[in-house]
C-alpha cells in the first residue's frame, strides 16, 4: 500500500523531469499492478467483518490479520483514497 501509492506519486515527478517518460510509465504501471495484486490476494474474509485487508499473505491462501499499529497505516498513506 505504502510502496505502490508512493511509487505512483513519484511517477509524476519522473514524468515532470523531462526525458524520462518511459521510466515514469514503468513506475505507474508497476504501482497499478501491485494495487491489483493487493486487491486479488490481500483481501480476506473475516467471520465478523467480512472482506478485510490482511496484514500479511503468502499467495497460497494463508494470511495473518491485524497487527497494530502497522495495520492502521493505510489511511495515513492515502492508499484508500488513491485512484
Amino acid at each position: 500500500m505504502m510502496f505502490s501509492r508512493y511509487l505512483d506519486s513519484a511517477s509524476t515527478i519522473m514524468a515532470a523531469i523531462g526525458g524520462q517518460r518511459n521510466l515514469a510509465n514503468h513506475m505507474h504501471n508497476f504501482a497499478t499492478s501491485i494495487r491489483a495484486a493487493i486487491t486479488q490476494y490481500g483481501i480476506v474474509n473475516d467471520p465478523t467483518y467480512g472482506q478485510v485487508y490482511a496484514f500479511e499473505v503468502d499467495g497460497f491462501g494463508s494470511g495473518m490479520f491485524a497487527f497494530p499499529p502497522t495495520s492502521l497505516s493505510p489511511p495515513s498513506t492515502d492508499f484508500l483514497v488513491w485512484r
Partner: protein, 193 residues
Amino acid sequence: MWLRDSANQMQSYLSLLKANTSTSSLASLYRGVINLQARYILSAPHCNSFQPPVESGLPPTQNQALPDDFTPPVANTTVFECKYELDSLAAFLEISTNYYQATGDVAFFGKFEWVSAVQMILDTTEALLVGTYASNGSVNAVPYTWMRTTTSATETLSNEGRGNPVQEGTGLVRSMFRPSDDAYVSLFQAPSF
C-alpha cells in the same frame, strides 16, 4: 541513518516546507535527506540502516558482535543493518513526493542521483516478485537472504535466510522484515506493498 525513520522524522516539518534555494533553509534539509537516501539506496538497496556519511567525520558503529550473514554482502562499515524492508524504499518515495508537492522543485530531481535511485528501487523490487518455487517444484534463486546469530525467532529468517515460502506470479513484492524490524511470517505484507 535509517531510511524509514529519517523520512518520517522530516514529516514533522512538512507543513512548514516551501520552495527555497538557500542552503540554510528547511527545503535544503529535505534535499539533503533525499540526496543522502539516494546515495545509500544506490550503494545497498536491500538495507534499512546505514553508517554516517563520510562527510560527517563520524566513525561507523558495529551493530552485532557477530556480523549478520546476508546476500548480497555489504561491508558493515557502510551499512549498520541490512534487513530488507519494503517500507524503507517506500519511505524514500514518500519523502520525495512530500518535497515535490510542497515545493514544485522538479529541477532538483533531475540534477543529482534521484533518477538512478528510483531505477535501483525498481530493479530491486521487481527481482523480488519471484515466488519461492518454480512450476516444476524446484526452489527459485532469491536475490536476497539474511541470517543473524540470535536467540529470537523474529531476528532471523527461516529456510537458510530466505524466509517462509510465497506463491509465484501474484504480482506482490516479497519483503522479509516488517516496519517494526521483525521478520515476517507471510512475506507479502499489505501495509508495506
